[in-house]
Amino acid sequence: MKSDIILSGVGGQGILSIAATIGMAALENNLYLKQAEVHGMSQRGGAVQSHLRISEKEIASDLIPLGKADLIISVEPMESLRYLPWLSEKGWLVTNTTPFVNIPDYPDMKVLLAEIEKLPHHIAINADEIARQVKSPRSSNMVMLGAASPFLDIPYESLENGIRKIFGRKGERIVNVNIDALKEGREFALQNTPVGSV
């Protein structure tokens, strides 16, 4: 088993919480893990990404080679496309459709969504909307993780346990809304993925 995942978004959107949750789940399953993060200047509203690699075997590089990623999980639609050179032919792109507009030349949403629709394997989900529905507007990142969960070779329960470990300090309510967000995201992906493609 091997999963090479690129997480993307804008500084401050919480991709490191997604990475940490998957990381915890990987540890629970005794998998090897390498996770390269971006700290520093880009965290101030710039484009950020994280390379996350999990495997049964020891992992060499902290960085994923071009064309080798199995999955891109993006909490922002335009950012999802920035890392296409890394996505393998069979890889899936799972992205939020709610834009984060902090630049003057942000592309037209229709054109942007059309670019995403062109990809053979993709899930486009309005994670912000779903997060609001579960009464936790800040949990859109966990909605995204849920939507990506069918494509991860990790038992779903381990992701819930990961959330318990990562958010446990913040109290039961925070843990529960994040698990709700995770569930809703997963449900959406399962309903919108052709049978047999996962």
Binding site: S42, S61, D62, I64, P65, L66, L81, L84, L87, S88
Partner: protein, 539 residues
């Protein structure tokens, strides 16, 4: 002893704690900040009362670490690569004085300049100082090298440099820890003048440093971090330094590379191992993340050696971070990129946060400067450097810590009026105070804006030495009290800010304007943790 999931930087910190360190000294700087933060938040470090407050800059950090080593204890100074420039005087001379307790200087380089103004390679500094250098390939080695580094330092009685890069520093992986060493007892150096670098003694000390070079090389020859892997295909031999080894092995599933490989993790370069590889192989490929440090030494000056491939002949791009794709191409392997990035994807550079006080400072400054003309504003290193980008386009320089004030002085000496500096509070206490003193000494007409957000913001909100004492420092340095003006940078005070700025820009002498409002990122946190932080760390 346990298995932990750690960033490379955190592995260094844990290795230092377990290795018996009594104190860490550092100034925040990406990608090195997490080392000290980890120690600050570590339970054992608190229980053992390991020193872990921030230093004013990297030079004071190395000097304090050297002082702790003088007293027999194990100490670490950590910094980013450009911080080592600031600390260079102390660093180079610490190799001449030598150490008493083990001392490690941990330096994080930033190839590709993710968060820096250059991508200099600290291994050159280690060679310059003539001390042992470690370069870990992964988080486990980072931990082990740090843990063992104190012993190595005590064995040769010189500091040890650990050099690593952004990718390792900010990548997480499993690390197996070891038994915790006790801290050293307080002891004084055997020779009371060991640390006195008067020429007569310095010559003696320097000869001593030269004298141990052969042993330091011998140590690298037999180091477990310098491994020669035999291979049956000698058409190519590969030298892989530090993290480059991972990128190499990424290209060979199940670790089956047929070429002989020399994996390097400890310097000076192990001469006989390199000689063996060069003699046995038709061509040599040198893989290193950073400058062609090993490659240049292999080529030498007179040699027109063409069998060595690397960054110098273009096999690997001369600039930028190494990655598995560069290595694949160097090995003649095909790199199969996925889809191209659609043209609609726009650049998204970092920006000042919504509600950031620097926004209000630049609004007021830009309006005021309309009257005085363009290209008269020198700035510095911090979040406010983003004022160089649209929509502000407000500043004209960012060179090194503290340079804004001294460059403004030089420009004023050349006749620029008004000459303005914009510097942050933490950068000011890092390296701006002596610059301001130069201005006071000659009463140079400069206007220094110290944008005080009460934190070291760009690196994530570490404590700032300037907090609560900026006016006293400036007045103490000799700025006239009536020309130290404190403002509140908020949109509602815009007109008042413009008025004060204008008054001081016209003034023919040194003035300091302090727009003061806490960083929008740290403000909510600091209200919550107000009491805890400083007191706890200061115990």
């Amino acid at each position: 002893m346990e298995k932990l999931l750690l960033l490379g930087a955190e592995a260094i910190a844990q290795g230092a704690i377990d290795g018996g360190m009594s104190g860490v000294y550092a100034y925040p700087g990406t990608p090195s900040t997490e080392i000290t933060e980890y120690v600050q938040n570590n339970k054992t470090a608190k229980e053992k009362n390991i020193h872990r407050n921030w230093s004013a800059n990297e030079k004071t950090a190395v000097e304090a670490a050297l002082g702790m080593s003088y007293a027999g204890k194990r100490a670490m100074a950590c910094m980013k690569h450009v911080g080592l420039n600031v600390a260079a005087d102390a660093f180079i001379n610490s190799a001449i004085t030598g150490v008493n307790g083990g001392m490690i200087v941990a330096v994080a380089d930033d190839p590709s300049m993710h968060s820096s103004q250059n991508e200099q390679d600290s291994r050159f500094f280690g060679k310059f100082a003539m001390i042992p250098i470690f370069e870990p390939s992964n988080q486990q080695e980072a931990y082990d090298m740090e843990y063992e580094g104190f012993e190595l330092s005590e064995k040769f009685k010189v500091p040890v440099l650990i050099r690593f890069t952004t990718r390792l520093s900010h990548s997480r992986s499993g690390v197996q820890t070891r038994k915790q060493n006790d801290q050293n007892p307080l002891t004084y150096p055997e020779d009371p003048i060991q640390f006195v670098l008067l020429p007569s003694n310095a010559r003696k000390r320097y000869n001593g440093l030269l004298g141990i070079q052969a042993s330091i090389e011998e140590e690298a020859e037999k180091s477990k971090y310098n491994v020669y892997y035999e291979g049956k295909d000698n058409s190519l031999g590969i030298i892989a330094c530090g993290i480059a080894y991972n990128y190499l092995m990424e290209n060979y599933s199940d670790k089956k590379c047929d070429y002989p490989i020399l994996k390097l993790g400890q310097y000076p370069i192990p001469y006989s191992k390199v000689e063996k590889l060069v003699n046995e192989c038709k061509q040599i490929l040198v893989l290193e993340d950073g400058y062609p440090f090993v490659e240049e030494q292999l080529r030498g000056f007179l040699s027109k050696e063409t069998k060595i491939k690397g960054r110098l002949d273009g096999t690997i791009p001369r600039a930028g971070e190494l990655n598995p794709d560069h290595v694949a191409r160097a090995l003649g392997k095909e790199v199969k990129q996925g889809l191209t990035i659609p043209q609609i994807v726009a650049n998204r550079p970092p920006e000042l946060c919504a509600g950031c006080a620097h926004r209000d400072v630049y609004s007021a400054l830009n309006e005021t400067m309309k009257e005085f003309g363009k290209q008269k504003v020198f700035s510095d290193i911090g979040c406010y450097t983003l004022g160089a980008l649209p929509p502000w386009n407000a500043i004209n320089s960012c060179v090194d810590m503290g340079a804004s004030i001294t460059m403004a002085k030089g420009a004023a000496d050349a006749g620029v009026r008004p000459s303005v500096a914009v510097i942050g509070d933490s950068t000011f206490t890092h390296s701006g105070m002596t610059a301001l003193l130069d201005c006071v000494y000659e009463n140079t007409p400069v206007t220094v804006i110290i944008a005080d957000n009460a934190t070291t913001a760009m690196t994530g909100g570490q404590a700032s030495h300037a907090t609560g004492r900026l006016e006293e420092i400036c007045i103490g340095l000799g700025v006239k009290p009536e020309h130290v003006r404190v403002l509140t940078p908020l949109p509602k005070y815009h007109d008042e800010m413009v008025k004060v700025l204008r008054e001081e820009l016209i003034y023919d002498g040194v003035s300091v304007i302090i727009p003061r409002r806490e960083c929008i990122q740290t403000a909510p946190k600091s209200r919550k943790e107000a009491k805890v932080k400083v007191e706890e760390v200061a115990q």
